[in-house]
């Protein structure tokens, strides 16, 4: 049995988690204030995931549109994912929640600002 001390990144509270691992499986997560922490602790030990936020260029406005994945994607894919994000441009109008890229490492890349 092995224990890992982690800091939950689920929200700015940053709870100190203790995750117990046995035979490659998570036995318990303690120290979390809410259920998200338990999920984070488990994922972090087994297969870490992160939400990616970035921007894409708005062709007909000349500025940037902020985007994010609508769920966390595997951490090891972040740099590869950035290449795909930087290869995309969009045209206004765009609304919050519009899908910019679908089937994106198990998530959608969505707009996070309204550009009229």
């Amino acid at each position: 049995m092995e224990t890992k001390e982690l800091i939950c990144i689920g929200c700015p509270m940053g709870c100190n988690l203790t995750v117990t691992v046995e035979d490659g499986d998570v036995k318990s997560v303690t120290g979390n204030t809410c259920p998200r922490g338990a999920e984070y602790g488990k994922n972090e030990v087994l297969h870490p995931v992160r939400t990616l936020t970035s921007t894409v260029f708005v062709e007909n406005r000349g500025n940037m549109l902020p985007v994010r994945t609508d769920r966390a994607i595997p951490k090891e894919c972040l740099f590869e994912a950035m290449k795909r994000v930087n290869a995309v441009t969009v045209k206004a109008p765009v609304s919050i929640g519009d899908v910019i890229l679908s089937d994106f490492y198990g998530a959608n890349l969505i707009a996070t600002m309204n550009v009229l």
């Binding site: 982690l6 800091i7 940053g14 990616l52 936020t53 500025n63 972040l78 996070t112």
Partner: protein, 423 residues
């Protein structure tokens, strides 16, 4: 606007960030619909518009939103109520009699006479940390927030080889952002023996990318003539003096400064509103009313928040209190309570308690890391409340509620103290 360029509004709000918007909505919902919201930027939303990372709104909405999404929810509420707002409008002064003078290209300079004013100007980055570094001032040195605007709004990466001085959240967020955009962030130097940023940002912005966080380190020299070519960094001793023998050279083309935020209180000072020397914001009571009657303050202009959710909550309180003041008049206690920080507590907000019969939530920050922290609230030797926490850090705002029942009959001074258990 009339010919004389003086108009009236029951409530004027200075600043259209999350604090200003939440205050406007709360005042409107409390019955004061004649509100005017003034914002110098070209849109409502404040600093959130450049904070494209996620982590906003978990407490409020139970969702992890990006800054622009959080701002858009409040903007939609402002628009739904048809609350009048002016963007591209700079407030020039606020008088203690609650006349607000502002300027924009449509109306020129104009004044608004208000029954109450809410200050919500937010904060700006300290650049002080950089002033004392020897060397020239070549191109390539930015505050982290400026770099954030370049990258996230203008789509321009200010450099490729980066050193960051200061471990405030904006610096940490920018370390990750620039790394993902292909820059090499070589080190984050922090003068203090602890980080000023949230733990979650140390994990997800530095550790995830193997960016070294060098505590008790500072930038001791700046190299380069027209463009930055490198910096020298060195360890500091307990008195924060550079240890010359530890100096090392790091080639880089960009230095970001993330040395903390400072409430933007020029208007407040000029109005003669008393400030708290520690927070850099106004001294307020539990309604977020300053010591100048009818003028309220909330959000980062009052004290630096790390969580926008708390900004919104505080702003709703200020907006509602301003509406109460307008509709029902002043409610000053005959004998206000002064709240004094003690032990490891650096400051509290509010600093005064004026009313009676209401629970009061006190916010505070500690000045050093405190393990096995014990919080005590006392009047003289009488213990009113106590609370324990495994760890308190300067980077995180703490709060607790003082129940009305405990406050009944209390007058004079309350001390709020944090010490390590056993001390």
């Amino acid at each position: 606007m009339t010919d004389t360029n003086v108009t009236k509004a029951r409530l004027v709000i200075v600043g259209g960030g999350p604090a200003g918007m939440a205050a406007a909505i709360a005042a409107y919902d409390a019955g004061v619909t004649d509100v005017l919201l003034l914002e110098r930027g070209n849109a409502l939303g404040g600093i959130l518009l450049q904070c494209i990372h996620n982590g906003f709104g978990l407490h409020r909405f139970g969702e992890e939103l990006s800054g622009p999404e959080y701002a858009a929810r409040y903007e939609a509420e402002v628009k739904k109520r048809n609350i009048p707002f002016l963007t591209d409008t700079m407030v020039l002064s606020v008088d203690p009699d609650r006349t607000v003078t502002a300027m924009n290209s449509t109306h020129g300079v104009f004044s608004v006479k208000a029954d109450a004013v809410v200050l919500a100007m937010g904060c700006r980055e300290r650049s002080r940390g950089a002033l004392s570094i020897p060397g020239k001032r070549p191109a390539g040195i930015y505050t982290a927030g400026t770099a954030q605007r370049y990258v996230n709004v203008q789509g321009y990466l200010p450099g490729k080889e980066v050193v960051i001085l200061g471990s405030g959240d904006i610096g940490l967020i920018m370390a990750r952002r620039m790394t993902l955009e292909g820059a090499h962030v070589k080190a984050v130097c922090e003068l203090m023996p602890y980080s000023g940023g949230l733990n979650r940002n140390i994990v997800q912005c530095l550790k995830d990318f193997d960016i070294p966080l060098m505590l008790s380190h500072t930038v001791s020299k700046i190299h380069g003539d027209t463009r930055l070519t490198g910096v020298s960094i060195a360890e500091v001793d307990e008195k924060l003096r550079v240890k010359p023998e530890t100096e090392q050279y790091i080639p880089c083309d960009t230095l970001l400064l993330s040395c903390g935020l400072l409430p933007e209180n020029e208007l407040t000072k000029e109005a003669g509103i008393p400030l708290d020397a520690i927070t850099g914001g106004a001294t307020v009571n539990e309604h977020r009313e300053t010591l100048t009657e009818g003028i309220f303050a909330c959000g980062n202009v009052l004290h630096v928040h790390d969580l926008v959710d708390f900004v919104s909550e505080e702003a709703e309180l200020a907006g509602k209190s301003a509406a109460d003041y307008i509709l029902r008049g002043a409610r000053k206690a005959a004998s206000p309570i002064t709240v004094k920080p003690a032990g490891k507590v650096r400051y509290t907000v509010p600093q005064r308690i004026d009313g009676e019969g209401e629970d009061v939530r006190l916010f505070f920050r500690v000045g050093a890391i405190v393990d096995n922290a014990v919080l005590t609230v006392k009047q003289g030797d009488t213990l009113l409340a106590t609370k324990k926490k495994r760890r308190m850090t300067p980077g995180e705002m703490e709060s607790f509620v003082l129940p009305a029942a405990k406050l009944a009959g209390v007058s004079g001074e309350l001390t709020v103290c944090v010490e390590s258990e056993g001390k």
